[in-house]
């Protein structure tokens, strides 16, 4: 055969790479701002030990001290006189660690179960779906309280409970996406070329499922940061003296009318971070969530 249809593909197409022409970005300055805030929070959390800050446990100023023009006192001092800024930044470590690690564990576990259930169907699907539905039927707070009463409170048990809480959500997402892709004819074509189950799952289905499932990560991280805050408020969060955003709110709640900055500083930080995660997450979902192709 000779080449019969030169020029059929529009010449404007990029010559290589899987890039889509970017959809019209609306309010991209807002997304950039949110991404910037998230970057700042992450950077502060990672670089905390290098910053010239007082130790988060050390008394650095007067108890409940007003904000002042020094690095440690920029956001005031807490009930015991510890630097609010220092506690906020070290708190970012704990809050982000809990949110991100639990989400990632839930993402990996959920993708695994969802992939198997959606691809194999039958008894595997029945079992996975039953467990998933059962876990989703528990009110989240009740489940967390139940887990907290059984497990010894620490960062790792908190991560275990929160990832257990989110795994069913990711399982459902992955299962639905897997079913959508598994019925595509390229999977059948691969089967017919001799591909076994591991290859079908890892090379054909998974690469198509991961982007849409992963695009929910930011939103879930946001939800878990809030969940950690709620648990701290109930005294079941990250145990002191390790600071966390939720813990700071819990510490300051009694004095909210006289010293509102004790509560507002961590609360506004959580608010901004969760908002930013949601906005960035929405943009990611628009980009990757429902892409058919």
């Amino acid at each position: 055969m000779t080449i019969v249809d030169p020029g059929v593909a529009p010449p404007s197409l990029p010559s290589a790479g899987p890039k889509l022409p970017a959809p019209r970005e609306r309010r991209s300055w807002l997304v950039a701002l949110c991404a910037g805030w998230l970057g700042l929070v992450v950077l502060a959390a990672v670089l905390a030990p290098l910053l010239p800050l007082a130790d988060y446990g050390a008394i650095a100023g007067p108890p409940r001290g007003k904000p002042e023009l020094s690095l440690d006192g920029l956001l005031g001092y807490d009930v015991l006189g510890r630097s609010m800024l220092s506690r906020l930044i070290y708190g970012a470590q704990a809050s982000l660690l809990v949110g991100v690690v639990s989400s990632l564990i839930a993402f990996v576990a959920g993708s695994f179960f969802g992939l198997l259930a959606g691809f194999l169907r039958g008894i595997v699907d029945t079992v996975v779906s039953f467990v998933t539905d059962t876990l989703l039927a528990f009110p989240p707070l009740v489940m967390l309280l139940a887990l907290a009463s059984v497990l010894r409170p620490s960062i790792s048990t908190l991560i275990v409970s929160l990832s257990l809480l989110m795994t069913p959500t990711f399982t459902r997402l992955a299962r639905a996406n897997t079913m959508r892709w598994a019925s595509r004819e390229f999977v059948m074509a691969a089967t017919n070329m001799g591909a076994g189950l591991p290859r079908l799952l890892s090379r054909e289905v998974l690469p198509n499922v991961v982007p849409s499932v992963a695009s929910y990560l930011p939103v879930v991280i946001a939800a878990l940061i809030v969940a950690e805050g709620s648990l701290s408020f109930l005294g079941l969060g990250i145990p002191s003296p390790t600071p966390s955003w939720g813990g700071m709110i819990a510490d300051g709640q009694d004095l909210i009318s006289r010293f509102p900055n004790l509560v507002f500083v961590p609360a506004v930080t959580i608010l901004l971070t969760v908002l930013a995660l949601n906005i960035v997450g929405d943009r990611l979902r628009l980009r990757f969530g429902e892409r058919g192709a």
Binding site: M1, D5, A9, P18, R184, A189, T191, M193, G194, A293
Partner: protein, 339 residues
């Protein structure tokens, strides 16, 4: 119509690439078990193109997929060069499947969107663990074979291809592992008419160049007429008529085949169709009519058609039909029941 029986099969199995006996495929649905294919037998001879024709839902695609065991076979035998695929073990099946390839209707859906064309076309070789150099060489070869410039199209991704180009890639992928037989499941139905001709011609050229045997599934009679050597007409999971393309199209012996041919538009713009339209809809496969399955829409149906399942029988040289009244149907002009 209800083609059971094997009168149309070759007696000498050495002359066939693929021989299907009493194939049955069932689907479990909320309404009960549907027999998508019931008691279908046919054989495919080396180097020929066998057309599978029928309206949607008649089981032609299911037959094609079941032959490659991409559908679960509920009964019957599928013999490929002496080995029964219906009962063969996983390892043997994997080896045999590489000789039996498939081209799908929707070319875009049949290509993994996350692979480049170059990766896609040699997927079979990758699965077989062939070395990179061989794969690269094969990719260039098959892309040139299907008329795509490897330099230009190799790095592209499926969404950058037109339907025709994507179907060429799918054909190249099937060719790359040097198959014996390719099942083409409506390979041009999703394409523009101008592109259809290109793909049909390409398939015909490749068939000659590579000594392929094709099973060509289509509802488009004109396409079937131009590419197939023999044709098998199906209705509700059974065979109506099998025979050389010329004799089936020139003298259809089954009322359903006649009706299909009559529903092709005339060449003149104001000519309408070549014959009366078929009455009614295809019955539900959940509860197919007794006896001949076509009887509910057949102008020639009698009480006998409700009781006896017609067997496939010879109605001429290399021409078989499953109708009690094949002789009448072949000669008398069909008067539609309603006129």
């Amino acid at each position: 119509m209800a083609g059971t029986g094997e009168a149309h099969l070759l007696t000498d199995a050495d002359d066939t690439v693929l021989s299907v006996h009493h194939l049955q495929v069932e689907y479990r649905t909320p309404g009960g078990v549907v027999q998508a294919v019931s008691d279908v037998s046919f054989d495919v001879r080396p180097g020929e193109t066998l057309g599978l024709v029928g309206e949607s839902g008649c089981g032609k695609s299911t037959t094609g997929k079941a032959v490659l065991r991409l559908e679960k076979i509920a009964g019957g035998r599928v013999v490929y060069r002496g080995e029964d695929l219906a009962v063969t073990k996983r390892g043997t099946l994997r080896r045999l499947r590489r000789k039996l390839q498939m081209i799908f209707q929707d070319p875009v859906s049949s290509l993994n969107p996350r692979r480049s064309v170059r990766e896609l076309v040699v997927e079979g070789l990758t699965i077989a663990g062939r070395p990179v150099a061989e794969r690269r060489e094969a990719a260039d070869r098959v892309l040139v074979d299907v008329g795509l410039d490897p330099e230009r199209f190799g790095p592209m991704y499926p969404r950058q291809l037109s339907g025709g180009q994507a179907q060429r890639v799918a054909i190249a992928r099937a060719l790359a592992i040097r198959p014996d037989l390719i099942v083409c499941d409506e390979p041009v139905s999703a394409l523009d008419v101008s592109v259809q001709a290109q793909i049909v011609n390409l398939l015909r050229d490749l068939k000659d160049e590579h000594d392929l045997t094709l099973v060509f599934i289509s509802h488009d009679l004109s396409v079937v007429r131009s590419v197939c050597d023999r044709v098998m007409v199906m209705y509700l999971g059974r065979i109506c008529e099998v025979g050389d393309v010329d004799s089936v199209f020139a003298a259809p012996a089954h009322p359903y085949t006649r009706a299909l041919l009559d529903s092709v538009p005339r060449r003149r713009a104001v000519g309408g169709f070549t014959g009366p339209a078929l009455e009614g809809d295809i019955p539900t496969p959940l509860d197919p009519p007794s006896g001949c399955r076509f009887r509910t829409r057949c102008p020639l149906a009698t009480d006998r058609c409700a009781e006896d399942v017609p067997e496939v029988r010879s109605v001429g040289e290399g021409h078989f039909a499953a109708c009690h009244y094949a002789e009448v149907a072949a000669e008398a002009p069909l008067v539609p029941a309603a006129v």
